[in-house]
Amino acid sequence: MNLVLSPEQQELRDTVRSFLGTVSPLPKVREGYDPDVYARLNGELGLSGLIVPEEYGGSGAGFAELAVVLTETGAALLPGPFLATTFAAIALTRVPDKELLTGIAEGRVVATLAQPAGDDGLVAESADGGVAVRGTLARVLGGMEAGVLLVPARTGDGMVLVAVDLTGEGVTRTPLETLDITRGQARIELDGARGRVLGASPQDDGIGDRLAVALAAEQLGVLRASLDSIVAYAKIRVAFGRYIGSYQGVKHKLADMHCKLEQAESIVRFAAWAADESPEELPAAAALAQAYVGRACFEVARDHLLLHGGIGFTWEHDAHLFYKRAKTDEVLLGPPRIHRARLADLLEL
């Protein structure tokens, strides 16, 4: 098991952090998705192709590297479809599709992945060389930005993963008002939208676990940046003639938050390592990552906001951006209890 970053991974982290600090500082984050920033992220840093195998034009890196990058995009609250496209790439590496993977690696294709729950499933019927897809998706991450939607759909031959062209006919997209103003979701209605079958969509394909790990890496970044922000403020804000960080009421809370950071970081490293190296440990590691890091991230973001005092409650201050991203991420893959239930099953309790 490897829980420590290699020198190369540290360099990757520093590069991404410094890049985002320059091209996507927080004042810019408030303006939302900037396709130029996204293009530079993929062009100059090649991030969209990070986990795409080399044979498809990517870097063929592992989850250890992906986690490093997502932690930085999380810390920067990067707007736009980077996480959505990463989710799609994760699904595509499980049902390798040259065209889309190459497009993602080259930064040409912005994609997203939806996992409809229960009866909200889609139906795909054969239609001139592909399929026509019908159904409604209530909430799709990056749904307005993506050109391609990956989604399971029912056919006569069972469940398949289809790639739907969101730019074509039969697609109605409605942007949703979201708690997180830095990253959008959309309602998508498909009424005979053009799609292409990528392969069968097995129940336990490891995609869900990998999404959980990727999201936890982003959450680790949100947690870390929240803590950094309030620690910095505690060193300059004065109350009753003393820096607030000198009061144990603040100091001890920050120490507890640091303990959460240390544990969250350890878990994300472990889960990323498991995704790369230890498939049998991955399911429990992924569920652990969401169960622990998702909660820790919101708690730290919440306390970082509260410890800012009144200014943290204002729209102008950035604290609420982290708080809202943390809450949105916590429920992104479903109510958090599903991860705990999964853990209970995996532990054979």
Binding site: R139, G309, W315, K327
Partner: protein
């Protein structure tokens, strides 16, 4: 016995008046200023504004018993009195307690009758929990004072005619000893009111900028450099007026309270049921504590600093509820137009940040309820100009 009969009669009369004058569609909204003023005038003329205030300055000169009786009857109605709440709860009582007769004569009756709206100007960006470290300056200029500085977290300021302003008049003495209280004309040139958006995107507060604003010395409240003692009076009235609202129970339509939440989530899941049980336990624990405080108050035992425990618990419960509701509801909690759960999680921190942070509340409970030893203070003896204040490295 006879008193009780009179009180019952008072109560019946009040109810009849309320039924005749309150309107079902009276929302507590700011844009209904004309309606609010018109209602307030009738309320005053009927004898229900300033029930316990001295008759000499325009009040009714009655007792707490009548006030409580009227308040009890009012709970069944929604009265459009929100814009007057600062004046009635804080600045008015301060003027009655500490103003000059001329000030009482000039300000109290129009305030009670709703002819003039008031706001309170204490907090600053650099002085929140630690109000006494405020930096807005008032400099003497003949018979006037000239004010420069910035205030924040000011409710109803955009409608206000008058404000109660705490400003620094001496920087060479320790922070509590160089403050003076004034009544400032909010319509005066140089006063700029700017709405302040909170994290939910709404503007329930304002920032106020003072740029060479002149105040006549006759509008000074209390002695020069004795403003802190006046502010303590105001804050005492603020605490009373907040704590009287505590214990009224959660709003029936709160989507994060148990009754709302149980309709939103899957109660066939035992884990969800247990989370709702926990919510019930915490809500009931606080509600019963508030009811006990209310019963004690009725029996003549005043809550004092124990009210800060109730405020702390309410802040924590509000945050916990909104967090729990969004966790249980899952992805649907954070998208959708005017989603009540999104609004709840956006507003929840406000309860902890308004009226004293949780840390300040714990200090109050520790110092004044448990009588624990105080922290060493570094800010009580230093001249203000040498004191660290606000935000600095």
């Amino acid at each position: 016995m006879n008193l009780d009969v009179n009180l019952a009669e008072y109560r019946r009369t009040a109810r009849t008046w309320l039924e005749a004058n309150a309107r079902a569609d009276d929302a507590q909204e700011a844009d209904g200023i004309a309606r609010a003023k018109e209602f307030m005038a009738r309320l005053y003329d009927a004898g229900y504004s300033g029930i316990t205030w001295p008759a000499r300055w325009g009040g009714q000169g009655l007792t707490q018993a009548e006030e409580r009786a009227f308040a009890a009857e009012s709970r069944d109605f929604t009265l459009p009195t929100y814009v007057f709440s600062i004046g009635l709860g804080m600045t008015g009582p301060t003027l009655v307690d500490r103003g000059t007769d001329a000030q009482r004569e000039r300000f109290v009756r129009p305030l009670l009758r709703g002819e003039e709206i008031w706001c309170q100007l204490f907090s600053e960006p650099g002085a929140g929990s630690d109000v006494a470290s405020l930096q807005t300056r008032a400099v003497r200029d003949g018979d006037d004072w000239v004010v420069n500085g910035q205030k924040v977290w000011t409710s109803v300021a955009h409608h206000a005619d008058w404000g109660l302003l705490l400003a620094r008049t001496d920087v060479d003495v320790p922070k509590h000893k160089g403050l003076t209280m004034f009544v400032v004309n909010m319509r005066h040139p140089g006063v700029t009111v700017r709405p302040l958006k909170d994290m939910s995107g709404r503007a329930n507060f304002n920032e106020i900028f003072f740029d060479d604003v002149t105040i006549p010395d006759e509008h000074r409240v209390g002695e020069v450099n004795d403003g802190w003692s006046v502010a303590v009076t105001t804050l005492l009235h603020e605490r009373l007026s907040i704590s009287s609202g505590v214990g009224m129970g959660t709003r029936r339509d709160d989507p994060t309270a148990l009754d709302g939440l149980r309709r939103l989530v899957d109660t066939t899941d035992p884990l969800v049921r247990d989370e709702l049980v926990e919510l019930h336990i915490r809500s009931r624990a606080l509600a019963l504590f508030n009811q006990r405080l209310a019963q004690e108050t009725k029996a003549g035992v005043f809550p004092g600093a124990r009210g800060s425990a109730a405020k702390l618990l309410l802040a924590e419960l509000t945050m916990y509820q909104a967090d729990l509701a969004t966790r249980l509801a899952g992805p649907s909690a954070v998208v959708g137009e005017d989603n009540p759960l999104s609004q709840a999680i956006s507003l929840a921190p406000g309860m902890a940040l308004g009226g004293g942070t949780n840390e300040i509340m714990r200090n109050i409970v520790g110092d004044r309820v448990l009588n624990l030893p105080p922290e060493p203070r570094v800010d009580k003896t230093v001249p203000f100009k040498d004191l660290k204040v606000g935000t600095q490295a």
